[in-house]
Amino acid sequence: MTTLTNRPTSRWERFRDSYLLYSFKRDLIAQVSLLVFIVLVAAAVLAPWLAPMDPYDLTQIDILASELPPFWVDGSDPTYLMGTDAQGRDLLSTILYGARVSLIIGFGAVAMQAALGVCFGLLAGYLGGRVDAFLMRLADIQLSFSTLMVAIVVGALFKAIFGGGTFSDYAVPLLVLIIGLAEWPQYARTVRASVLAEKGKEYVDAARVMGLPSRRIMFRHILPNTLSPIFVISTVQVANAIISEAALSFLGLGMPETQPSLGSLIKSGFDYLQSGSWWITLIPGLVLVILVLVINLLGDWLRDVLNPRLYKG
């Protein structure tokens, strides 16, 4: 077997000349969104080194310093730049750690739903017939209940099965599982539609005539050609997963207060809103909105660039 050594252009050169980069250079909103997104992700990843305090370390928490306002409000303490929450944790540190938890769950849940959705979508599209009818009917039913509703019900069940304590201990993997189970139909539908379009093409026929097994045709031949729609919905799904996690945490079906995500921070702050401590709930809320907004804006831009139907219009 001979390998193709004289590849006309390198990957980097192809990327440099691509329409993707060209349109990115001309789109200010996309550039700003990407910048903000990178800053937020970097801040979240580097939280243990950036944060002035470790909110998980009980010895660093001073209960007497609770409910201090952020620096621009009277009565603030310069040690706590963004103020403190009701337990006396430094809000800035807690937000950085919380964004970390939210992002881990967001990306984890999307990986989970992508794995489920891509497998089911490939099977449904490639095999057709009863498998297709069954899987798509299942997806329809689940979607008609809305993903958030399914996530709430599954979350409630998990909490009832495992009990509150165990649920809190394994909250991150459980939330990944819950959101993954709730939102796979989006992927499955998208992948199935692309598979149906690809299935009739000659290269698939050629592979089949060569006697390749179905699994190889599905994953090695068809899947790479369905990647661009998968890529587009993945961005939007990350935003959705982060919102779903925040909603579940807000309802008390998500991260515990000892290990808060942005959603559970908002929830814990909400109880103190009436007493005037608006910052505990509104500052994490603002971070959450900015995070989700830039991901949605990037998703919008990607869809405009990669979708040939919109590209012409």
Partner: protein, 348 residues
């Protein structure tokens, strides 16, 4: 037509069957009625007798059939928390949720159609761009956060003075961003009884003020979706040949937009609207939690919190029934008003 109807009904029954099996397995695996009925001191042997009497040792299928039989009569047992039939509990909480949903739907229809149509007719106008920008921000704000911000602004009130108060314009700007507060944001006040357990917030002005903030919050998450959908559909319809022909014939633009184009725009909006009812119910849970609105969503969360299994199961069954009925109705209406849908029930 009859075949289509039967197929849809069969589909609806199948979905209800699946939901009831799920609901029953929850009850079967999680709820131990004996533990709820008797005290700690009752010995295991007596519990076993009681279990046998109640038929809890019967095979799964037998127990399921009994459950389904009772469910067909809307008998789901007693709620642990309220100590009354679960259906009665749900019926007491249903009006609050329905009124919230009704007020929200009203807001969505009144706002999304004109805004969506306007931004499709004039896609480049600055107002359209503004609406599109606001709607992507609206999608990115979780519903509970909108609710919290509304509470802070209009129930608690905000007074801040970032501008120099000494100057005239500074004081004016400070006044502009200061909000009074005082809007009710907790519960539903004193709703007026209509009949039975139905109490309404629509009958008095005071009752309506309680609806304002929850309804705006709930609408804020659905509105952007509908605006974007109506705009996209309308843009597509305006490109179609029959609209071009109507223009060429010299029919007034207003007549084309609102009579000819709007009709075909609303077709897909109806289907999506039907599907979104599920989302709306999920968001009522969040909205009701923030505003302590005594509806089904709040009740459901309460039931989860206190592991009231019969109430959880009843909620799932009734919400499932509502979804299935609305989805089937939407499909049927769509089939009736869109002549291109095959009504014969044969696969396309």
């Amino acid at each position: 037509m009859i075949a289509f109807l039967i197929k849809r009904l069969f589909h609806a029954l199948l979905v209800m069957f699946v939901i009831s099996v799920i609901a029953f397995s929850i009850q079967d695996n999680l709820g131990d009625p004996i533990q709820q009925m008797v005290g700690q001191s009752v010995p295991e042997s007596e519990r076993e007798v009681l279990r046998e009497e109640l038929g809890l040792n019967d095979p799964f299928v037998v127990q399921y059939l009994r459950f389904a039989g009772n469910a067909a009569h809307f008998d789901f047992g007693y709620s642990y928390i309220f100590n009354e039939p679960t259906t009665q509990v749900i019926m007491r909480h249903l009006p609050a949720t329905l009124e919230l949903v009704a007020a929200t739907t009203f807001l969505i229809i009144v706002l999304s159609v004109p805004i969506g149509v306007y931004s499709a007719i004039k896609p480049r106008a600055w107002l359209s761009r503004f609406f599109m920008g606001v709607s992507i921000i609206g999608i990115s704000i979780p519903v509970f956060l909108t609710a919290i911000v509304l509470i802070q602004l209009f129930a608690i009130g905000v007074s801040w003075t970032p501008f120099p108060a000494g100057t005239g314009w500074g004081a004016w700007l400070n006044d502009l961003i200061t909000t009074e507060g005082g809007m009710p944001a907790y519960g539903r006040g004193d709703p007026v009884p209509v009949f039975g357990t139905w109490e309404t917030n629509f009958a008095s002005l005071e009752g309506l003020t309680y609806l304002v903030l929850p309804a705006i919050s709930l609408a804020s998450i659905m509105l952007p979706l509908f605006i974007r959908l109506i705009r996209a559909e309308m843009l597509e319809v305006l490109q179609s040949d029959y609209v071009k022909f109507a223009r060429a014939k010299g029919i007034s633009p207003r007549r084309i937009y609102f009579l000819h184009a709007l009709k075909n725009t609303m077709l897909p909006v109806i289907t999506v609207g039907g599907v979104q009812i599920g989302t709306l119910v999920a968001y009522t849970i969040l909205t009701e939690t923030v505003f302590q609105w005594p509806g089904m969503g709040l009740m459901f969360l309460d039931a989860i919190e206190r592991s009231d299994i019969p109430l959880i199961v009843t909620y799932l069954m009734i919400v499932g029934l509502i979804f299935v009925i609305t989805n089937t109705l939407v499909d049927l209406i769509y089939g009736l008003i869109n002549p291109t849908v095959k009504l014969t029930g044969k696969p396309a």
